[in-house]
Symmetry: C2
Subunit: 617 residues, 2 copies
Amino acid sequence: MLTNARQFLLGAPLPTSAEAHQRLTKVKALAVFSSDALSSVAYATEEILLVLVIAGSAALGLSLPLASVIVVLLIIVATSYYQTIHGYPSGGGAYIVAYDNLGVWPGLTAASALLIDYVLTVAVSTTAGVAAITSAFPDLLPWRVELCLVVIALITWANLRGVRESGTLFSIPTYGFVVLFLTLITVGALRQIAGDLDPAPAHQVDQAAKTLTLFLVLRAFASGCTALTGVEAISNGIPAFQKPEADNAGKTLIAMALLLAIMFLGISFLARALQIVPVGDQTVVSQIGRQVFGDGPLYLALQAATALILCLAANTSFADFPRLSAILARDRFLPRQLTNLGDRLVYTNGIVTLAVLASALVLIFGGRTHRLIPLYAVGVFLSFTLSQVGMVRHWRKQGGAGWRWKAIVNSVGAVATGVVLLVIVATKLLHGAWIVLLLIPLFVWAFHAIHQHYVAVAAQLSLDGLEPEKWAGLASRKRQKVVVPISGVHRGTLAALRFARSLSRDVTAVIVDVEPQVTARVQERWPQWGQDVPLLTLASPYRSTVGPLLGYLDEVDRNDPERGLAVVVLPEFVAAKWWHELLHNQTARMIKRALIYRRGKTGRDRVMVDVPYHLRR
Amino acid sequence: MLTNARQFLLGAPLPTSAEAHQRLTKVKALAVFSSDALSSVAYATEEILLVLVIAGSAALGLSLPLASVIVVLLIIVATSYYQTIHGYPSGGGAYIVAYDNLGVWPGLTAASALLIDYVLTVAVSTTAGVAAITSAFPDLLPWRVELCLVVIALITWANLRGVRESGTLFSIPTYGFVVLFLTLITVGALRQIAGDLDPAPAHQVDQAAKTLTLFLVLRAFASGCTALTGVEAISNGIPAFQKPEADNAGKTLIAMALLLAIMFLGISFLARALQIVPVGDQTVVSQIGRQVFGDGPLYLALQAATALILCLAANTSFADFPRLSAILARDRFLPRQLTNLGDRLVYTNGIVTLAVLASALVLIFGGRTHRLIPLYAVGVFLSFTLSQVGMVRHWRKQGGAGWRWKAIVNSVGAVATGVVLLVIVATKLLHGAWIVLLLIPLFVWAFHAIHQHYVAVAAQLSLDGLEPEKWAGLASRKRQKVVVPISGVHRGTLAALRFARSLSRDVTAVIVDVEPQVTARVQERWPQWGQDVPLLTLASPYRSTVGPLLGYLDEVDRNDPERGLAVVVLPEFVAAKWWHELLHNQTARMIKRALIYRRGKTGRDRVMVDVPYHLRR
């Protein structure tokens, strides 16, 4: 029944052979890999304005220059990644590049930064997507958190079923978003030139505004840098491109960077031209949309496309987080369960982990994008920087024609992203970035501890130093000591006794005297049914079954350290229905658990044999 | 560590030999067994008034006549139980008497009625005890439910530690309560005669009062009948008395009935004399106490004694419920876990069950005595009636001198309690008694179903029809088929293989091909380490380990139905720390679970052998 419900929800299991690698054209690849980067224009301008407005509405004029600086930064980063694509044509995530060129610790640092940022991408994109919806339908505002959780649940469900990264499917919302945004910018610009646009209705701006400090400007810049999140996506996905992969990926990267630059600058320009002030219940993009398009269908389409591409952006993390987790698990830095491909050929455990963490973030931060932003981008810029530094080392090691020039390009990238990282940390530290700065080393430590454990296990299981010949020898065990704990004389007992006798000539049955009447009855019937096995009665002053039994087994070990105790044979009757088990004492199960987790005092492993007797009703 | 915390909370384990049976003097026995009955005067009068006041304050005059009728009923019931004590000197609970004389179904009906009433006794006594406290300290009123839960938790804890029914300990609150109540009544009566008492401040009574119907009078009577709960306690506890047990118990019963009658009538009289009207935030007894004693230390002592004896009354159920559950479990009508005597010689499972159910009732009914009362007393009077009818049959079967006279006394008791039962059901049905009327047959059905299961299990495990000689024969199994599922070549595998080879000459190792690289590596190393056991690789298109393995085992059964598959040997490495297990796939455990719950297609039970390999770090 459980299996049926599962299949209904998730679909029938897929064989491993169904794992096909679809190759994407440049147009489709842009749709698949750029949603995270492009969708950030839905909130990046607003985040800049939200910081500047602290210094009053006059300060908002700085938003366009700041946006321009961020676009310059974008060009530097994109150029750096263009080189990474050609340097790591099989896919160069920050973890791989940093690990390869800088060593384990930088690699793990990049990995933990990335994992944290994937979780934040889901939380930020979902909350921003829901904000696009509530801007159009303010009645839904009180359900903000619930809506976010529903969206995350839906994306999780789709990923557990296994959404193939279908280019066609992804093209519609991505290009729809691009087209609508470009239309918005064009129409807005033309109407502005024609003098046909009214500024937005004046909003109340806090009169007790602070003075505009350099710190505030840098904080606004740091907030705007969230526009760059997702730029690295293409460099992770090179193998999905048609041949020649690296060339096509490089061109797609350039197209994406261009689109992102245009849209970001365009929205920032319109926000200034319309004198938009950020307000609580409506996004900046929605305000611009209403002014340019009016309240009609075009405006609603804009909001819908914004919400959809933000869902796609969240969805990107659902591919990236489980994939990176699986790579880390394969390298023994995370629990190996994360490498398990589920029924539907997806990393089920990674998907569920991500969904739980992102939902927790949404709950903690009340579903508000603005509260999440200070945590965001720290991880991204840390991994940018590590990746660029790694590339510099890569070019130096590789040498070849023009390596110096390539190294210089990546050095510029590394310095630029490194400086931005410092700015982000310095300006956002007290607003939440400290959480991320605390988590990254914690994660690295956990990766290390897990790795140590796996190394220790492998060493203990290793066959080094053993001689195969010794093991291949005869394996008679007729002299081993076998103990059969019983609780009564019944069909289950008989089967267990017979099996025990086939193991050895030295079998002892043991009953723990918890209920004297039961013990007496067993002793009375033993001569007839005991199959000539001696029966030992153990006293149990404290009415425990497990305690005296373990004591006896230890004693056997002590009395005959040479042979010791080898095997415990447990009769266990298995109920016909699971709820029948509530009516039985489960003593066999308690004994099994106690024996497995507790090796004998002599340190010898004890073999445990279960002789089940199935009840039919 | 868990064991230490447990010992700190509950005390060190007690050996079975510590189960001593203290014999009680009459004076101490009265303290131990009468708290339930005597404590009901704390709320019985109030419950009568609460019904009568519906018809306006004039109707309150009926309370004294109703109390008198209830005292007459008390005399009848006490006389009946006096006879039961002599008829069942080894303890005659309603379940035993009804089962013995009327058969299984009446016995089970009495048992379920009693179990339900024990739970209600805890809930009603606790809420009434807390009401005594909040009457003195009205600031605590908002914490009513929390206080009840804390009280129940404390009583539960004391019982899990094992409160011996210490006569000395119980005497203080019980006799303190009796002395304070008798003082209250005496002082109140004297001051009333001296004309020195003012009536209580006039309270607002609902002006839109209903007319006083016969139904309302009967409902008031039914509510007052809760005063009789607990009268049967002495007849359950006869073996605890000093010799001659029955005589002493009988005399104690008379003393208890007399005390109860005096206190109940006295409080009802004072309530009338002082024109007390029941109010929400103060009990009737508290109102009387304030009028008679003033607000001083005597009043506080009265409230404290009331709260304490009500806790003792709740505590009585913590002895009775687990004991009756254990008797029912011994007779195979409840899960046998209820017969387990815990570390501290108490029926741990019964105590915890009672605490959970009573706490649920307190929560559901908001910690208010008055809301719980309609459910109460139904079970008591049902078990009274069944017990009396059973006694009539008992005397007839037993015969002897004057059996007719004894039978008549119990017949009068049966008719009286039967009529009261009908009155209670009729007047309280819609106020909550329906819940109890629904639960009683449900419990009886559950008892029956559980019994059927145990009977079926016993029949399936029975040795009837088996011949001991056949089982005593040789038990060589050298030709049995043994399968060893492996996931790699390591020390754990080697030990399992060697053990398997000691079992049979027909051993097959099996690897499920989930990760091709791992499988290839195992195949490569097999010739050297495989101990000449053939290795079989199973394809797993859906990446499941358990599925293909089960399929293979079934196939073995099918291909050789004569021998079939006998044994599965599982190598299992056991982590050094429990949290290490989070880092492993637990495949061995999954296989074990699947194999235990699923017998082969041929219906043959498969023996499962666990060969553990303990990791040390």
